[in-house]
């Protein structure tokens, strides 16, 4: 019998790879200088404190070395990156007012349809600026704020000044310092005390310009007892030059509040995705991270949770799919600072055709975190021996009254499991398809329905015979 490998098809990117010609209204020159930073700030009519923060971030960026760990970043040349590209429009709250070519882009990505059918609010960013933002009126009347960051800087200045880049300071690492200097766009969400949103908000980030960077900032405050689900989607067409994404997400989850933050990242394979996300969770609050990483050439992404209040909780559910030419370094961080805090990490990855999937995590239990519980499970599926799958966790436990567990598994599809299913009447192909679908199912079931369907389509199986 001919020994053929199971083929897991590449993610079909046709839906994301279309591109518009560059019709930007304005763009800065390539590279990163104080003049360019000041130019971006001036374009946005920002208050002086924001320009000061930008320039301080630039100083930090210039003195911070490149990371001495993780995937290679040598091909990133900031002198070749355009950090600000303004589309040829202002922000609108009606799709009919958005220029046709931009509206068409988001139509093809299904965003307006999703807004009509299943979302409480939508933000759409095209290159460096948000071009559309809208929220259902009944939510606005309850005091929910969902707008772009530039508007938030003007209209909610005190809140933004207090919280912006305080949870993720520019000193954190080189690329968040870069972000602090040239950030543009992103979303601001404020959910007042006790308000519960039954349907999600969604921001979609589209980078169209070749050789450009996207540096959106997302700041969410969920007040006491409130509840919200925020969805973030990202994509870009493929070019032959490197694009850079260095966004930053800061989430404040107050006492008893719940925030679910879902991301489906499907950047094109010329994208370097160096993103930073962090949540501060107060007493009995909950942060739920759902993270799907499918695109990009290189990704470094580790959503982190700081469990500050007693009983605070975090869950991370992530899947990474690394195909040819991709080096996807993903995972999670959790810091337990208070008693009876709990965290779970569930991560799965598939690597194929020479793709590299790395799971990296850090769980810290500080002495005050008595009664803390943390559990991590990481599973990696290797589809061939050209690919790589590495697991690099760190656990730092400083409390003897903590319950910590960590499990990791790496391997291919089990012959025994295939054999068992075949004895129950399934063909070999059906058995393997079932196993791979079962492998991603714990993640898929946590996604909103339309994303789960999307992911199933992304990870379509083409089975031709045995694995070997």
């Amino acid at each position: 019998m001919k020994n053929q490998k199971t083929r897991v098809a590449d993610i079909d990117r046709a839906r994301f790879d279309f591109r518009d010609s560059d019709k930007s209204g304005y763009k800065t020159g390539k590279g990163l200088t104080a003049d360019i930073v000041a130019e971006i700030s001036a374009m946005k009519n920002e208050p002086a404190w924001m320009l000061e923060r930008r320039l301080r971030s630039l100083e930090v960026y210039n003195r911070t070395p490149m990371p001495a760990w993780g995937p290679p970043l040598g091909e990133l040349d900031m002198d070749e990156i355009v950090t600000y590209v303004r589309p040829n429009t202002e922000m609108k709250s009606d799709w009919n007012d958005v220029p046709g070519y931009i509206k068409n882009t988001f139509e093809r990505l299904g965003i307006p349809q999703a807004e009509r059918e299943s979302l409480a609010g939508v933000g759409a960013q095209y290159d460096s600026e948000v071009v559309y933002h809208n929220i259902r009126r009944e939510l606005s009347s309850q005091g929910v704020v969902y707008t772009d960051m530039e508007t938030a800087v003007r209209e909610h200045e005190d809140t933004v000044k207090e919280l912006f880049m305080k949870l993720v300071p520019p000193e954190d690492h080189k690329f968040v310092a870069l972000h602090g200097a040239v950030w543009s766009g992103g979303s601001f969400v404020y959910v007042p005390e006790g308000v519960r949103l039954d349907i999600p908000l969604q921001s979609y980030f589209r980078l169209n310009a070749p050789g450009a960077g996207q540096f959106e900032h997302t700041l969410i405050v969920v007040e006491k007892g409130a509840n919200v689900h925020f969805i973030e989607g990202c994509s870009a067409p493929k070019y032959n030059v490197l694009n850079l994404h260095a966004g930053c997400v800061e989430l404040y989850v107050r006492e008893g509040a719940t925030l679910r933050y879902s991301t489906i990242e499907n950047w094109s394979k010329n994208m370097m995705n160096l993103n930073t996300k962090r949540a501060l969770v107060e007493k009995n609050g909950t942060i739920e991270w759902i993270s799907g990483t499918f695109g990009s050439h290189t990704t470094m992404l580790y959503p982190s949770s700081i469990l500050k209040g007693e009983g605070a909780r975090s869950t991370f559910t992530g899947i990474t799919f690394a195909g040819a030419g991709q080096n996807l370094d993903t995972g999670a961080k959790v810091v337990h600072l208070a008693p009876n805090t709990s965290s779970t990490i569930s991560s799965r990855s598939i690597s194929k055709d020479g793709g590299i999937a790395v799971y990296r995590s850090a769980v810290s239990i500080l002495p005050e975190a008595t009664g803390a519980k943390s559990s991590a499970v990481c599973e990696s599926l290797m589809m061939d021996s050209k690919s790589r799958s590495d697991t690099i966790p760190v656990m730092d436990i400083r409390s003897d009254e903590a319950d910590i567990g960590h499990e990791a598994r790496i391997g291919r599809i089990s012959d025994a499991a295939v054999f068992y299913l075949m004895t129950r009447g399934l063909s070999e192909e059906e058995a393997k398809a079932m196993i791979v679908r079962g492998f991603v199912e714990p993640i898929a079931k946590e996604l909103p329905l339309e994303y789960a369907v999307e992911m199933n389509r992304l990870i379509s199986l083409e089975l031709e015979g045995t694995i070997g």
């Binding site: 021996s385 790589r388 003897d400 598994r409």
Partner: protein, 367 residues
């Protein structure tokens, strides 16, 4: 006597800087006398070849892998004052353990030892290396042990480190198992102020087996730094890294274990497991279990757990008439017993269990 500081890379693959697990600082101190100091106390049968030179041994590569950088390697080779080759001849099975005791004292406070164990084809032996010292002499030990296990041979290496709490101890083990061979290493890190311990096992030949068992004890202010790795190269190789640790008082430990499956190691399996008994509120317990995989047809697993003694078990033992201290001693002994029982020499087993009991008596009672 001169000394200098250096940094050792402790991770096969680096990670974030903030947890401070990538590197460890090391102070190297040259011994006054690099000539061979005295006769070593070696217990072995007449069949075993014991030399103080290993010039004719073909290593092929540095078996200690990523844990002994060039600077440390040169230091050891230029400053060795104990050098031993232990060769087990082809087809010969040594019945009793070969025991090499290295004692540090006032007259030889700095020991730099370089030991090579070579088991020729189809040979088998147990080799025990013991490092001991008089209290109050502030001794320093830097050592390298390399083990070559040729086709179908078997070696069990036991290293027992019981240096005083003010001693410096840096130790690197490197081993290679050829086709069908089996290499088992047991490390007992029970003493010294800041033990820096590493072990790199290469499963080179098809069907090779290698297992590393580690018992460590953190008491007082001890800070343990451990880096262990099993590298699968051959097909159908099997490895295991198992650790049982006890932490109390204000001790700290970093335990890094890595299973590294290279492309071509088809059909191989590896498992790493660490269990830590925490007996103090001020301890720090850092674990870094890595799985590195460049081959699809493998199975790699890791599991780690840590926590205090089970209150129900403690209560049961006390209800049977044991005092709290004695109950804790019993639980601590039980925590390490699955590894200790693998050591064939009763005196070594008793030394390890005795050290555990004494530590609990000193500090664990407060836990």
């Amino acid at each position: 006597m001169s000394q200098f500081e250096t940094m050792l890379g402790r991770m096969p693959v680096r990670t974030w800087s903030r947890p401070r697990v990538n590197d460890a600082g090391l102070v190297l101190r040259e011994p006054d006398d690099v000539s061979l100091a005295g006769g070593a106390d070696i217990r072995a049968s007449g069949q075993i070849i014991i030399k103080q030179s290993y010039d004719r041994t073909a290593f092929g590569e540095d078996l200690t892998g990523p844990f002994v950088p060039e600077g440390l390697r040169v230091f050891i080779e230029e400053n060795t004052n104990r050098r031993h080759l232990i060769r087990i001849p082809k087809g010969y099975a040594e019945r009793e353990p070969i025991v090499l005791t290295l004692h540090l004292g006032m007259e030889s406070p700095v020991l730099v030892d370089d030991v090579v164990i070579e088991a020729e084809e189809d040979a088998s032996a147990v080799v025990i290396l013991k490092y001991t010292s008089d209290d109050g002499t502030r001794v320093q030990h830097f050592g390298r042990t390399r083990v070559i296990v040729r086709r179908n041979a078997r070696v069990q290496l036991v290293k027992l480190q019981m240096l005083p709490n003010d001693a410096a101890h840096t130790d690197a083990v490197g081993g290679v198992a050829q086709a069908g061979a089996r290499l088992d290493v047991i490390l007992a890190e029970l003493g010294a102020a800041r033990p820096l311990s590493s072990c790199n096992l290469i499963l080179e030949g098809d069907g090779a087996n290698a297992e590393l068992d580690v018992v460590y004890l953190g008491d007082g202010e001890r800070s343990l730094d451990m880096s262990y790795r099993a590298e699968h190269r051959g097909r159908k190789t099997v490895s295991g890294i198992y650790a049982k640790g006890i932490l109390m008082d204000r001790s700290k430990k970093i335990f890094r274990d890595t299973l590294d499956f290279k492309s071509g190691a088809s059909g191989s399996k590896g498992r790493e497991e660490e269990n830590v008994l925490m007996l103090g509120r001020d301890v720090r317990n850092i674990s870094v279990p890595l799985l590195l995989c460049g081959e699809d047809n493998v199975e790699g697993e890791h599991a780690a757990s840590s926590g205090r003694p089970d209150e129900k078990v403690l209560f049961y033992l006390m209800s049977r008439g044991l005092g709290e201290l004695e109950a804790k001693k019993l639980l601590a002994q039980a925590a390490v017993s699955s590894i200790v029982e693998k050591i064939p020499e009763a005196s070594v087993r008793n030394e390890i269990l005795g050290a555990v009991r004494r530590s609990i008596g000193k500090g664990g009672a407060k836990a």
